[in-house]
C-alpha cells in the first residue's frame, strides 16, 4: 500500500490525517476519493511532497508501495 497524508485544513476535510491507498498513478488514486476532497487536494495552492521531498509539479506522479504523499496547504504564518 501507499499512504496519503493530509495537513492543516485538509485533514479536517478528509476526516483523517492519513489514508492507505492502492499504489498507482496519482490520477487514479485521486479518482477513488470523494470528489470534494480530490478537488481540494488539486488546488493550485496545495504543495505536494513525496517521501518528504517537495515536488515541482504533480503531473505524471505514480505512487509505489510504501510511498508517502503529503498534501500541504498554505502554511499559517505567525
Amino acid at each position: 500500500m501507499a499512504r496519503l497524508v493530509f495537513l492543516g485544513r485538509l485533514e479536517d476535510l478528509a476526516g483523517t490525517a492519513e489514508m492507505a491507498v492502492t499504489p498507482g498513478p496519482l490520477d487514479q488514486v485521486l479518482a477513488a476519493l470523494p470528489r470534494d476532497l480530490a478537488v481540494a487536494l488539486l488546488d493550485d495552492r496545495v504543495r505536494l511532497a513525496l517521501n518528504g521531498q517537495i515536488l515541482a509539479e504533480s503531473g505524471g506522479i505514480a505512487l509505489g508501495a510504501g510511498d508517502e504523499l503529503a498534501f500541504l496547504p498554505p502554511v499559517s504564518g505567525g
Partner: protein, 148 residues
C-alpha cells in the same frame, strides 16, 4: 558553534532553556532572544499547531544553518511548540549568541521573519465561535523580503 533546533510537543520553560543555552556559549559577549507566546487577551481559548515530521524539523535546521553561515555566531537556539496549547503558553523561543550584539539581534530577527512564513506549520485557534484555521498574512512575505 552550538546549533540547537528542536520541536517540543509539550510545554517548555523559556527561562530554563535560555539558561542552558547561555551556559553552552561561554565565549559569547551577548545573547538576544525572542519569545513568542499565545496572546492572553484576544478571546483565544486554545491554539493548535500541526506539523509534518519529515519536513518541519529539517526545514528549521536548514534555516538555522543559513543564519549561522550569514553571521558569525557562537550559538543559535530554535525551539518551537507543536500540539495544542492555552493562552499565555510559550510557542517559540529563538536565541542567538555572538561576540557583539548587533549580529545577535540581526540573526534572531532573520530567523523569526523566516519562521513566520516559511515553516511547515499549520495553526488553528479556538474561540467561543469554535475552531478556525489561520491563513497566511501578506505582512509575513514583506518581513522576509527585507533580507534580500
Amino acid at each position: 558553534m552550538v546549533i540547537d533546533v528542536r520541536l517540543a510537543d509539550g510545554p517548555f520553560d523559556p527561562a530554563a532553556e535560555l539558561a542552558r543555552f547561555t551556559a553552552a556559549v561561554p565565549a559569547a559577549g551577548g545573547i538576544v532572544s525572542f519569545l513568542g507566546k499565545v496572546r492572553g487577551d484576544a478571546g483565544v481559548l486554545a491554539l493548535e499547531i500541526r506539523h509534518y515530521a519529515p519536513m518541519t524539523l529539517p526545514g528549521f535546521r536548514a534555516l538555522a544553518d543559513t543564519a549561522a553561515r550569514r553571521w558569525p555566531l557562537d550559538g543559535l537556539l530554535l525551539l518551537h511548540r507543536v500540539g495544542e496549547m492555552g493562552p499565555d503558553a510559550p510557542i517559540v523561543l529563538v536565541a542567538a549568541a555572538s561576540r557583539h550584539r548587533r549580529v545577535a539581534f540581526a540573526a534572531t530577527d532573520f530567523v523569526m521573519d523566516h519562521l513566520k512564513g516559511d515553516s511547515w506549520l499549520w495553526k488553528r485557534e479556538r474561540t467561543a465561535a469554535g475552531w478556525r484555521w489561520i491563513e497566511p498574512r501578506d505582512e509575513d512575505h514583506g518581513d522576509r523580503a527585507r533580507w534580500g
